[in-house]
Amino acid sequence: MAHSRTANRYSALSLVREGLRGHSGWQQAWRSPEPKAAYDAVIIGGGGQGLATAYYLAKNHGMTKVAVVEKGWIGGGNTGRNTSTIRSNYFYPESVALYDYSLKLYETLGKELNYNIMFSQRGVVTVAHSDAEMEIAARIVNAMQINDTDAELFSRDQVLEKAPLLNSGDQARYPIFGGVWQGRAGVARHDAVAWGYARAADGFGVDIIQDCAVTGFLIENGRCVGVETSKGEIRAGAVGIATAGNSGVVAGMAGFNLPIKSYSLQAMVSEPVKPCLDTVVLYLGTGTYLFQSDKGEIVVGGGIDRIPSYAQRGNPPVQATVLSGMLEMFPSFGQLKMLRQWAGVVDVVPDSSPIIGPSPVPGLYLNCGWGTGGFKAIPAGGVLLAHLMATGEHHDISRPFDLDRFRTGRLIDEAAGSGIAH
């Protein structure tokens, strides 16, 4: 890696070495520089997607005069608020190409970044509750297999083997018939993904500028040539937007609308308990999904709140729905308590697929519309936006996700195709 500065190499050995001298030798994970007047590329948004874009601009395209501009603290948006599930169990080949590419990058990301992102490939099972849902499950599994990603159609017994505490009795509102299993799927430590990319990007010389809000765009001759920020003007050869949850607002500053509505998505965790659930489980019937974090907390999520909102807070009706759904799935979790509850603001797009591509303003590129699923696509999203910003052209994987699809009507609507919302 062409690091512009000497960074600590993380390893068990360095940890022991530093342990013996009071950890006094650890360097900053990333610097906090003041912005320069101009960069080759500026990325708005210091979440996973933005930081990954900066990293891949440097790594894949040799561009190191790059800044990431973050209005708060890096990883503080949806990267730090999501439930960190990573999977590629999609129906359409376009989606599989994107998400499976991302999953593959995740598989080696810890080593690549020299940062333990704790990607735990413990598998995801989507549980079906009737013959009709099993038929849909088969439709999805077959599609995934044809599209060359791993998938199995699980029987009821296989589901229960993975999650023995599931409600398997006759008195279950949603009986278990079987499900879709993706064994390579899993969870990762969300903060670590942001921090790992930040540290690696910083190692290439990328400037990560926190507490710096973008207030407008510099548009000259119809082309975007930089941004106005709370820390002054920054000029840029290319500007990328990676501001999940606020994409519509940022696009508005550049003078265009996006097919995005913002909604809150809440999540909850329990107090930690010893291991009792080894996979990620999603019920089609309840819409609730959950897993147990390495710390022992049960992490629970469900559908979005039904009211367009930029407020990062949840509401009791949806909480009650998600949690009653969880207790339907795992009646014994009724002995646990809700420790924390929070919400992120997600970009909701009509077809629930991301928008990656040039914006209506030349020089300005989009990475948005991830809905509830942006975390799993961070490595791929970063590669694709970096490709766009460096070359001005689509990567083959990002082409179908161009904004233009809303004009042609050629949407990539997973729910429409598979009957299951993603």
């Binding site: 950890h23 333990n116 107090e271 308990v273 949690l323 308590k337």
Partner: protein
């Protein structure tokens, strides 16, 4: 023994065990007070280093004393010993320790603490793979142990309450506010998380209105209740949500816990304050406790936490605590961290070491070793501003009390008492006079702090960890929190957040306000999932709609399934599904089947503009129907996708009945209603959902006409008078009965709709009339099969969210209709005109293998497989004696006759693309 109960032990009537040892306690005890009364010092182990830990607090702030409790054979994990009432027979176990908290096998981990700093796991376990390490790390993590048998029933009620003033906190400030509100004639609700009203008055003596504090509190509480106001004890306000909705968790003796959802015109937050620990080396030893907690154990449980006590303080509130402890018989040394100290106290005291790994034995203060069995900390108060901040309130740092306090009142929310930084009763009760002295001198950790000093006790975050975070640039408070896990334990940082912020401020040279505060998120304390979820479980979670004939169907041996949100007979005759479905289907082709079709939507569109509205909502024109005639058609979304299909009956120019599939009734009503109000004159057309009013029984098959004729409905059944796709009105037992000739089986069919109250009689009459005609009851599965033989589509099963009418070959309206309808423009997009769209087709297998539903057609190009569509319905047809299937296949309509490969879970099949209709394509049987 160090901590002990004062006075007689006669009241110790409750038995319990802790880590296998038997102890006694008394009514009114918490687990913590009982453990202290028995002199138990080590009650648990810390999360990371497995350090021995004792009880530190009195209430919700407790970081250490978490226990698993078994009662009547059922275990509940992670209960906070300080807030859990002692119950006779409890088996209490420490968490995160094995075999006992006192002798934990993993205690050795503390010796490796220097190699396990904050965030160490981000720096290691990268090679060879995280997955190798994860199982053992997971096994180490977690606190208590889940009991799979503990499955609490869904009995937690959720109770709505509305009032003028909701007072949160039953201490002096809250009681005072409640008293005032009552005086102003407002309706009041007062809640407190303790079993007894009184707040600080429960442990600190005071005189109010000439009465002892507790007596005053009891009087106010009694007054409130006598005047019809609600007073809830054991009730925690855990969250403020939008528009000032307050969520309460009520623990009810002998009943399930309840959630209250309270809407008050005004919320008074009187939640008090929590004492802060002091930061010094080894401040986590068992026997190191908050001074206020020690006072509460003494005042409320007659438990003296030690005999030789050192009380470290940086403020004046500790002095009355010392007095009380001394009166109870303890020797107390006050170590005042401030330069000026009162008589007898050590001034400028510096706590340098705490000795005794499993319980305080001595304390080194400013170089002097003092024997002691307890060390109390009085680090000043942190106002409980959680709910205020949840509601969006902003804090301001008050130097004089070294604490964050609410900056402004919020609309509808007022903060009073200690929660607002008012610590003196005089101030709280607006009595005038001198406030009690507080005189805090902050004692924050300094940059050069030595030794291991705990900030977050449960998560093992020390000052050094914060220093490491600072060194590595995790300086933003949120980064600090996430990197070190400070404040993320089950006590949610109630004792650690302020000290953590102050430490970071000291390290970065910023002020505390510059360093900022973290976000306060609900819940204030961990709340049982069941309380948040409520009773909406089991049958109340997405309840199904019930047929008026459900009892009759049960009696007739129906096997039920859920279809479109209704509980319907899938088939009759018991467990052998395949045989029964086959039997019913054959009967419906050869004799007559009787089906309960009541869930099918019956939506009346009435008014002068009724025709215009149904036309606009439909792909096919409907208004040009003749009265008493029926037409089949589609409803599209604005994206041009098929939303639903169904038949519409025209009664008159002002009256239509739109039928739709059972799962789409609410959706179709909503669409019609939306366009009615948004596009039409809402005084000229109305939409009534009449689905529940009518029961519909269908007779289908060659004998159906004879069956209906035998009912004597007064309808001319002659095919000329009542052809296919027409209806006629008759009567059944003096009630209206509409007979419609529509068919979803392809055979002659009659749908008879009667008011639901007549359904049972009609069914009985049909069965009676059907006997000589070999009629059978038929469930939904046979119907699904029969319609598949005919190639009739089921929207949502044989179509997906992309299917447009042209994909079914229905292009007439798109080409011919001149007026607007929903979805019209979307049928003209590039995507809609694409040549490679998927079409609805039949699939004929060679041989007798039934195609699996969900199998995909595949095409291989350059050795890469590609899906060209999938099977949507598939059956072994009893009528044709061969398998039949339907599917959506790319360019299917142009490729009829072509044989394609299909794959399912690695198996390959071959099938020929065919017309969807496999049986009676001429439709002769409709009139047979």
């Amino acid at each position: 023994m160090t901590s002990h109960r004062i006075g007689s032990l006669a009241a110790e009537t409750l038995h319990f065990t802790f880590d296998g040892t038997r102890y006694h306690g008394r009514p009114g005890d918490t687990i913590a007070s009982a453990l202290l009364a028995n002199g138990v010092r080590v009650v648990g182990r810390s999360f990371k280093y497995h350090r021995p830990r004792g009880i530190m607090g009195y209430g919700v702030e407790e970081p250490n004393a978490l226990v698993d409790v078994t009662l009547n054979g059922i275990t509940t994990p992670n209960l906070r010993a300080t807030t859990e009432a002692l119950v006779d027979g409890m088996i209490v176990r420490s968490v995160n320790a094995s075999p006992t908290a006192a002798d934990d096998r993993k205690g050795f981990l503390d010796r490796f603490a220097q190699f396990l700093p904050a965030g160490f796991y981000y720096k290691t376990f990268i090679w060879p793979d995280w997955h190798r390490f994860e199982p053992s790390i997971r096994a180490m993590a977690g606190l208590g142990r889940l009991d799979p048998r503990n499955q609490p029933p869904a009995q937690n009620p959720q109770i709505a309450a509305h009032c003028d003033v909701l007072v949160i906190g039953g201490g002096p400030a809250g009681l005072h506010a409640a008293q005032q509100a009552m005086g102003e004639g407002k309706s009041v609700m007062l809640v407190d998380d303790q079993p007894v009203i009184g707040g600080s008055l429960l442990s600190r003596s005071a005189e109010i209105d000439g009465k002892p504090g507790l007596e005053w509190a009891a009087t106010v509480s009694a007054d409130l209740q006598a005047n019809g106001h609600r007073v809830l004890t054991d009730t925690t306000a855990y969250g403020i949500y939008d528009h000032n909705l307050v969520a309460l968790w009520q623990r009810r003796a002998g009943q399930s816990d309840a959630q209250w959802r309270v809407r008050a015109k005004e919320i008074v937050l009187a939640a008090g304050a929590i004492e802060r620990p002091l930061i010094f080396p080894d401040n986590d030893r068992p026997g190191v406790m908050l001074a206020d907690a020690a006072l509460s154990y003494l005042a409320r449980h007659k438990v003296l936490v030690g005999r030789r006590i050192v009380l470290a303080t940086n403020n004046d509130r500790a002095y009355p605590v010392a007095d009380a402890l001394r009166r109870a018989g303890a020797a107390v040394t006050i170590a005042d961290l401030r330069p000026q100290a009162s008589d007898g106290a050590l001034a400028s005291a510096k706590i340098e070491a705490v000795h005794g790994p499993k319980g305080v034995e001595a304390v080194t203060i400013s170089g002097q070793r003092i024997a002691a069995d307890s060390l109390l900390m009085a680090g000043g108060l942190t106002p409980s501003v959680h709910l205020y901040c949840q509601a969006g309130g902003k804090l301001t740092y008050d130097e004089t009390i070294a604490a964050f306090v609410p900056r402004d009142d919020l609309p509808g929310i007022r903060v009073v008492g200690a929660a607002a930084g008012q610590y003196a009763l005089t101030e709280i009760l607006s009595l005038g006079g001198e406030p009690h002295p507080y005189a805090i001198a902050p004692a924050w950790p300094q940059r050069d702090a030595k030794g291991r000093q705990w900030v977050d006790f449960q998560n093992d975050v020390t000052v050094k960890d914060i220093a490491l975070a600072e060194r590595e640039n995790f300086r933003s408070v949120e980064h600090l929190k996430r990197y070190t896990t400070l404040g993320m334990a089950t006590d949610q940082g109630k004792t650690s957040n302020m000290n953590g912020l102050a430490t970071m401020a000291a390290l970065t040279g910023q002020t505390i306000p510059q360093t900022g505060t973290t976000t306060y998120r609900p819940p204030f304390v961990p709340v049982p999932f069941g309380v948040v979820a409520g009773r909406r479980r089991g049958e109340f979670f997405n309840p199904v709609r019930r047929l008026v004939l459900e009892r009759e169907h049960r009696d007739a041996g129906a096997v039920f399934r859920e279809y479109g949100g209704w509980l319907r007979p899938a088939w009759f005759g018991g467990a052998n599904a395949a045989a029964n479905i086959r039997r019913e289907a054959i009967a419906a082709r050869t004799t007559v089947g009787i089906l309960d079709g009541s869930p099918l939507g019956k939506i009346e569109v009435i008014g002068a503009d009724a025709g215009a509205l149904v036309d606009y909502n439909s792909y096919n024109t409907l208004s040009n129907l003749k009265p008493s005639r029926i037409r089949y058609g589609f409803m599209l979304t604005e994206s041009g996708v098929i939303y639903d299909d169904g038949v519409t009956s025209k009664i008159s120019d002002e009256h239509y009945v739109v039928s739709c599939s059972s799962g789409h009734v609410a959706g179709v009503v909503a669409r019609l209603e939306e366009w009615r109000q948004d596009r039409f004159d809402p005084a000229r057309v109305f939409v009534h959902n009449s689905t529940p009013q009518w029961a519909t029984l269908t007779a289908s098959g060659p004998n159906s006409k004879a069956l209906v004729a035998a009912l004597g409905l007064g309808v001319d059944l002659d095919d000329a008078a009542l052809p296919h796709m027409a209806f006629a009105d008759g009567q059944f037992q003096a009630a209206p009965a509409r007979v419609s000739r529509v068919s979803f089986t392809g055979d002659r069919s009659y749908e008879i709709a009667v008011p639901s109250a007549k359904a049972a009689s009609l069914l009985a009459a049909m069965q009676e009339a059907g006997k000589p005609l070999d009629a059978v009851l038929m469930g939904s599965e046979a119907l699904l099969l029969l319609r598949a033989e005919k190639g009739y589509v089921i929207a949502g099963k044989d179509t997906d969210g992309t299917t447009m009418p042209q994909d079914l070959g229905i292009i007439g309206p798109m080409q011919k209709r001149q007026n607007e309808y929903v979805g019209r423009r979307s049928l003209l997009t590039d995507n809609a005109q694409r040549p490679d769209r998927s079409h609805f087709v039949g699939l004929t297998v060679e041989g007798d293998t039934t195609l699996p539903v969900g199998a995909h057609g595949v095409e291989t190009l350059n050795s890469k497989r590609r899906s060209i569509g999938f099977v949507t319905s598939s059956y072994d047809s009893p009528t044709l004696n061969r398998p039949i299937a339907l599917g959506l296949i790319e360019r299917g309509m142009e490729r009829k006759g072509e044989v394609i490969d299909l794959v399912h879970l690695g198996q390959t099949f071959r099938a020929r693309i065919a017309e969807p209709c496999a049986f009676d394509p001429e439709g002769a049987r409709l009139n047979a």
